[in-house]
Symmetry: C2
Subunit: 228 residues, 2 copies
């Protein structure tokens, strides 16, 4: 069983973890230390975004900015946002996109905060909170009429029991470096993802499930959703 998170305020601990882990995270991403990303999930999200032939992309929870940089390399105007100031600093230092330090609450309160309309909004392993409806509703507004939302997340086939919505803890033990601050994150069942999308005005239009070449098990669930 994965460790359950019983923090009375997981939202604050989640936000803090991305400041405390910023340096280690940027190094892990840039060094290719995360096997699933190296094997499949980085390419999956990049390919899904480019398939829409986008001119303008919003990269939510962009972290140190690798995806925005990769998209910029294809001539896409990429806007990255993250609530972690040190991660945005690292993204700006590397360049390749426009990077805005903003929380999801701030974007939910002002859907035009990052510009738009966007052809694609991406949340690549970046929807980790239990309260996502206000952000999704804001993205619905920030998207072009024929735009797409792309959400990549943990595949339910690999999550382990209990199969129910709830806070869990990521301790980063599978990563190369030590000294990480544990991160609370909210596991969501398939049904819960679909309900959240539909309640905020989206239709699920596609699912990509990259598979590990050796274990044969899915490495992620990549949802594509369109405004209803």
């Amino acid at each position: 069983m994965p460790p359950r998170n019983l923090d009375p305020d997981p939202h604050a601990a989640l936000a803090e973890s991305w400041c405390e882990n910023a340096r280690a995270w940027a190094a892990a991403v840039r060094d290719g230390a995360i096997e699933s990303r190296r094997l499949a999930t980085d390419e999956a999200i990049l390919r899904a975004a480019l398939e829409r032939r986008p001119r303008r992309i919003l990269d939510l929870g962009c972290g140190e900015g690798w995806l925005a940089r990769a998209l910029a390399g294809y001539g896409v105007d990429a806007i990255g946002t993250d609530a972690s100031a040190p991660l945005i600093e690292a993204a700006r230092a590397a360049g390749g996109g426009t990077f805005i330090c903003a929380s999801y609450d701030e974007i939910a309160a002002d859907p035009g905060l990052c510009g738009g309309p966007f052809d694609v909004a991406v949340a690549n392993f970046a929807l980790l909170d239990d309260r996502i409806a206000p952000l999704l509703a804001a993205l619905r507004q920030a998207l072009a009429a024929d735009g797409r939302l792309l959400v990549q997340t943990l595949h339910p086939a690999t999550a382990g029991p209990p199969y129910e919505d709830g806070w869990r803890t990521e301790d980063f033990r599978g990563f190369a470096e030590t000294g990480w601050t544990p991160m609370p994150w909210y596991f969501r069942t398939l049904g819960s993802w679909l309900a959240a999308l539909r309640q905020t005005g989206f239709t699920l239009t596609g699912l990509v499930e990259p598979v590990h070449p050796e274990t044969g098990m899915p490495l992620s669930l990549l949802m594509e959703a369109a405004p209803q």
Copy 2:
């Protein structure tokens, strides 16, 4: 790894298995020998169907007819269809609905074969073939404009690798009786289910995932889809 099925004509073997296993299957269903059905999946499909307050339901692959009988108990006009003549015979003997012996190919060729329009069409662990698009397209036509398709199937979290579309073999080893004829069945990823629904004119509107009370793992995936 689950056994892969390498039968050169799995379609014929699938159809034959439901004739050869008809007596054992009817006994297993009627005696409550299948734990997942007893624990959760029977109730899940019945509840999902009744939530639509239906007057007329099509029960595809109805087998010995338990679901049609249960629905008839709620005053629903239930039409059950199955390609297995001995199962339809068992369903008719028990009564409680109208039972038609017809293959999916026959229904696909004549969507009005079973009557309609239907408020709900149900396929409860009954879409076991690789070619489901012609049947789904026919159901799309047989449904009322505000009707719903309900498909209950194996949950991808419990399928085991390789996570890819393909024929597998059910040997019924987990069941009470011995002497079953192995059944070829086609495993479909989540993305493949969604693509099949969308290609045939359906939008995925809901997912129910009943969970085993002890293991905490999902016992099934129940998809609800609406005509686009």
